[in-house]
């Protein structure tokens, strides 16, 4: 793939690699890069009851969310299982919602089902807008020195700005921690935005290097780690749960799991030799008992080992634990999220 390819030409079909995964990964973790993340679901949730409704449907405290501030929260079922993780920003009491890629239709249906007496309107703008993320330790300096942005954003802060004449929402979430900015523009403006960053030397990065960073950072992904088979306490999402906000769907189950220490499994970071043939959704075993499942994996350019995410039973979710794949290859539990 040509390194100068413009992201928006391939909308809907994520570009796996522009140059090489190794080179793109280095840009993400050591310098700065742009990524087309237009697959991320984007909704506007408007109406005087919008904040209150989302507060009653999800795990984190939404009440009192200041203008231009954001929060990540988990939509859960009445069994406390994950529907999706949302990043929500308050722009003049209109809520801008980021959902997982390919999840927006489901989220619209979910919110609409629970909109009964409330004044709430949900507008899915995923297909009419585009989203580009600027990721890497030099992202703030690129914005300031090269693009000329004269303000900085804290984590979970957003602004509606005009960027060289393009109406843009810029916001920060912890999808790629700690230095990532998301830019949301009209679909027809992505080329211009993309070129703005390309011309000051920012590298284009494809979905494979981004997924590698996601796995390394322990960020769960929709349909892999974020499914209704798991609850937020198992998925490393405790930081997005308020335990004193009051009732929301699934609250009773989640509070009980936490209070009685009944969480059965945890999301873990895994590592194994690259010579092993292991795929996603391979079982993990200890003494011939299945104790876990690999849900995502990639090859780390640092030491050429394979790294992955998976769920492992509580008793085995310990850094340093050695497990076996169903091919009897050794899989090492590197971290617990």
């Amino acid at each position: 793939m040509d390194a100068d390819s413009i992201g928006s030409k391939y909308l809907g079909v994520p570009i796996p690699v522009y140059t090489s995964i190794e080179e793109e990964y280095c840009s993400l973790v050591e310098n700065v890069a742009i990524v087309d993340r237009s697959g991320v679901g984007r909704l506007w949730c408007r109406g005087e009851d919008a904040l209150d409704l989302i507060n009653r449907l999800s795990t984190n405290q939404m009440i009192g969310l200041s203008p231009n501030k954001g929060v990540a929260t988990v939509l859960t079922s009445n069994k406390g299982r994950i529907i999706d993780v949302l990043s929500i920003f308050n722009f003049d009491n209109d809520l801008f919602v980021q959902a997982s890629p390919f999840a927006s239709e489901k989220i619209v249906k979910w919110i609409n089902f629970y909109t009964i007496m409330e004044s709430v309107n949900v507008d899915d703008v995923t297909t009419e807008t585009s989203m580009m993320s600027l990721i890497g330790p030099n992202s703030s300096s690129v914005l300031k020195d090269l693009i000329g942005l004269d303000f900085s954003l804290e984590l979970y802060e957003g602004k509606q700005i005009s960027l060289n004449g393009i109406d843009t929402i810029v916001c920060r979430s912890d999808f790629a921690f700690p230095d990532a900015y998301d830019f949301i523009v009209g679909k027809h403006n992505l080329d211009a935005l993309w070129e703005m960053f390309r011309t000051v030397g920012v590298m284009s990065v494809g979905s494979k290097a981004l997924d590698l960073l996601r796995i390394e950072q322990g960020n769960p992904s929709y349909t892999r780690e974020l499914t209704d088979s798991y609850n937020p306490l198992e998925s490393g999402l405790r930081k997005y749960i308020s335990f004193n906000k009051g009732c929301y769907i699934g609250q009773e189950v989640i509070a009980r799991l936490d209070a009685y220490k009944k969480v059965q499994k945890y999301l873990v970071g895994l590592e194994w030799e690259s010579t092993c043939k292991i795929n996603s959704f391979t079982g993990l075993f200890k003494d011939n008992d299945q104790v876990g499942l690999i849900t995502s994996w990639s090859v780390s350019p640092k030491d050429k080992k394979n790294i992955g995410l998976g769920y492992v039973r509580k008793a085995n979710a310990i850094a340093g634990e050695l497990l076996q794949s169903d091919n009897e290859d050794i899989v090492y539990v590197k971290s617990v999220f």
């Binding site: 409704l53 507060n55 009653r56 449907l57 009445n78 089902f113 629970y114 909109t115 009964i116 007496m117 409330e118 009732c247 929301y248 769907i249 699934g250 609250q251 009773e252 189950v253």
Partner: protein, 117 residues
């Protein structure tokens, strides 16, 4: 051919005890009327939460039911979740308060304020 009788009443009723408590609450609050607006909103542990308000007038589309000298205004969109419900008042060991005996509720939370369908 035998016709299966639909035994679920498609209305909402209030017990005499609940009606007298509504009047008492309205009086305590210094309100001249004791019309009760009933509805359901999304949220709560089990998914849906009951809403009760003492109001003067119904809103557009509300279904109006009169029983025991009380007017019940039922939110139009909530009606589907409430059809067949009897609103009662409990003063028992589980705490005093209004109780929704709702045949549509398949689950309810520990505190009884929310339900799932």
């Amino acid at each position: 051919m035998p016709v299966k009788e639909n035994t679920k009443p498609l209305t909402i009723s209030i017990s005499e005890q609940a009606a007298s408590h509504v009047r008492a609450f309205a009086e305590q609050a210094g309100k001249e009327v004791s019309n009760l607006r009933v509805g359901v909103k999304g949220g709560g542990c089990s998914g849906l939460t009951y809403v009760l308000d003492i109001v003067e007038e119904p809103r557009d589309g509300d279904k109006i039911i009169e029983e025991h000298g009380l007017k019940l205004f039922v939110d139009r969109n909530s009606y589907v979740f409430l059809a067949g419900t009897t609103l009662d008042y409990s003063g028992g060991l589980n705490g005093k308060g209004f109780v929704f005996n709702n045949p549509n509720a398949k689950t309810s939370c520990g505190c009884g304020t929310s339900f799932g369908v």
